[in-house]
Symmetry: C2
Subunit: 338 residues, 2 copies
Amino acid sequence: MLAFMPLASAPTTPTPPTSSRTAPVAIREVGLRDGLQSIARTLPTATKLQWLRAAYAAGLREMEVGSFVPPRLMPQLADTEALVREALALPGLVVSVLVPNLKGAERALDSGAHAMLLPLSASRAHSLSNLRKAPDDVVREIADIRRLRDAAGSTCRLEVGLSTAFGCTIQGRVEPEEVLRLVHAALDAGAERVGLADTVGYADPRQVRELFERAFEIARPYDRDGAAALACGHFHDTRGLGLANVYAAWEAGVRRFDACTGGIGGCPHAPGASGNVATEDVAYLLASMGVPIGLDFDALMALRHSVAGWLEGEPLHGHIWRAGLPKTMRPAATAEAA
Amino acid sequence: MLAFMPLASAPTTPTPPTSSRTAPVAIREVGLRDGLQSIARTLPTATKLQWLRAAYAAGLREMEVGSFVPPRLMPQLADTEALVREALALPGLVVSVLVPNLKGAERALDSGAHAMLLPLSASRAHSLSNLRKAPDDVVREIADIRRLRDAAGSTCRLEVGLSTAFGCTIQGRVEPEEVLRLVHAALDAGAERVGLADTVGYADPRQVRELFERAFEIARPYDRDGAAALACGHFHDTRGLGLANVYAAWEAGVRRFDACTGGIGGCPHAPGASGNVATEDVAYLLASMGVPIGLDFDALMALRHSVAGWLEGEPLHGHIWRAGLPKTMRPAATAEAA
């Protein structure tokens, strides 16, 4: 196993790094949900389990394995219950699912998943179009889900993903003040974690850094047990800024990112446009900066290769697979030609 | 003309931006030199002039138009003298050329170019392999070139590009202390501007930010007439971090970047690997952050299209050309479907 850490021994800066800059960063693999929901074909459950186990073997310790939406709307994810059950058998894996509403949350609680993610659109137009509810109606549903969860005596973590937080293909600009208001409202309503998502690939790194810094200020009073309430960055690479945005969010203090193996998950309405940031790219970016991620690069690349086979004919995306690791991050034995 | 500025009116942060963060950023188009030198075929001079004039019409005001290397080594750039002559006729365009040594500098001075760029490898192994000289021999040549320039009464700016500043495919790690020593030595020897280049696509954004911040400290005493002595960032997108590195350098204070239309300029030894960061991508990144760049996006995209035709069969790279500008940066009339 190639322990995906830079070989360099000396730090590049004379000032000792702060603990925050050396803190480990977690990558949540969302390919089995966000990735596959954008692809028309349905992968067999057995193949999804291969994906799940290979990602686990590569070191990934949080995965979104499916979505509790009605199967007729998303037949690709109809086996979410079975995937949760199998995933729960992997020691130390945090198993999360997407839930679109209270009904989905009930199924998530029944399934025994460790975490459920409720999307909340910061764009009113996107919210009305996708969920047929205004953002504040979704906030009220967060409170309902929290009550349901508490009444059930469950520890299933309630997480809110604030989508279109950096812009929207329908309404265009999304005011940062509205995003921040909804971060506050979601936490007040009982969400334990909130993430900001660039659902449509509109974000730029300056905006990412500034919005996360302001959101951290709002979320800090809600931090519990050493875990940040503002927890996750979710970026798409639609316009090539995906990794720049991950870096900017990391600079702002984000220590958990969503990613899809092979960069799948693009919008089906924008052919050719790439999707989520690729798991192997985010891993390379963070490892190259000396950030501990606990992942096996060769295993991530092997999984990418498998995904390419399972999804033959679908475009995969990402960058590091072309050129591979630089010499500075590989054992001398595999030295590259000049 | 679409004046490539975000349509958003309100700032995303309540704190007033510092003058440095609102300062204009210059992009130097290096496709005619760094781009074409990596491609075996020779473009006709007339086609290069079309490129030059289209880039100028798009708003680019600094271009590297060729290299004064012996024509037998690089026949693709044998018409550099003619290109300089034509480029000098475009009002306000800063015309720069690459010079490998004193002999090349003589030709640059004769040509009337506004600036000459001498590469200096921070990697000793790369320097010996590419220039057959140790880095300190090149530093001595900088002093010779400066004397030659001053004796000629020329104002041709002497710029040094510190290549392999973030790592090297031959020797691997390049110590930041050695890079900083050479920044100092180049400025002491008479270089008026120094840039740091990630020649082989090894840099990560944390390293970029830290090294530029340290280099700025060293270079500041050499600043003249309000212009920074540490002037330029040159990045390749070999592993997908090109734009993240541009952003990190901008955060460190860099206000001038090299780029190639269509992202050409990849290493011929790494097929499939992308080359220089694409001019249109760097323009999109900076404009999306609200940084004034004075470029016309539609004209940049049209040039990319022309370059694709002129170099038919050669792989082009870059990102923004696939999905185009987000709705937030385009007039309402061209609104995209949701």
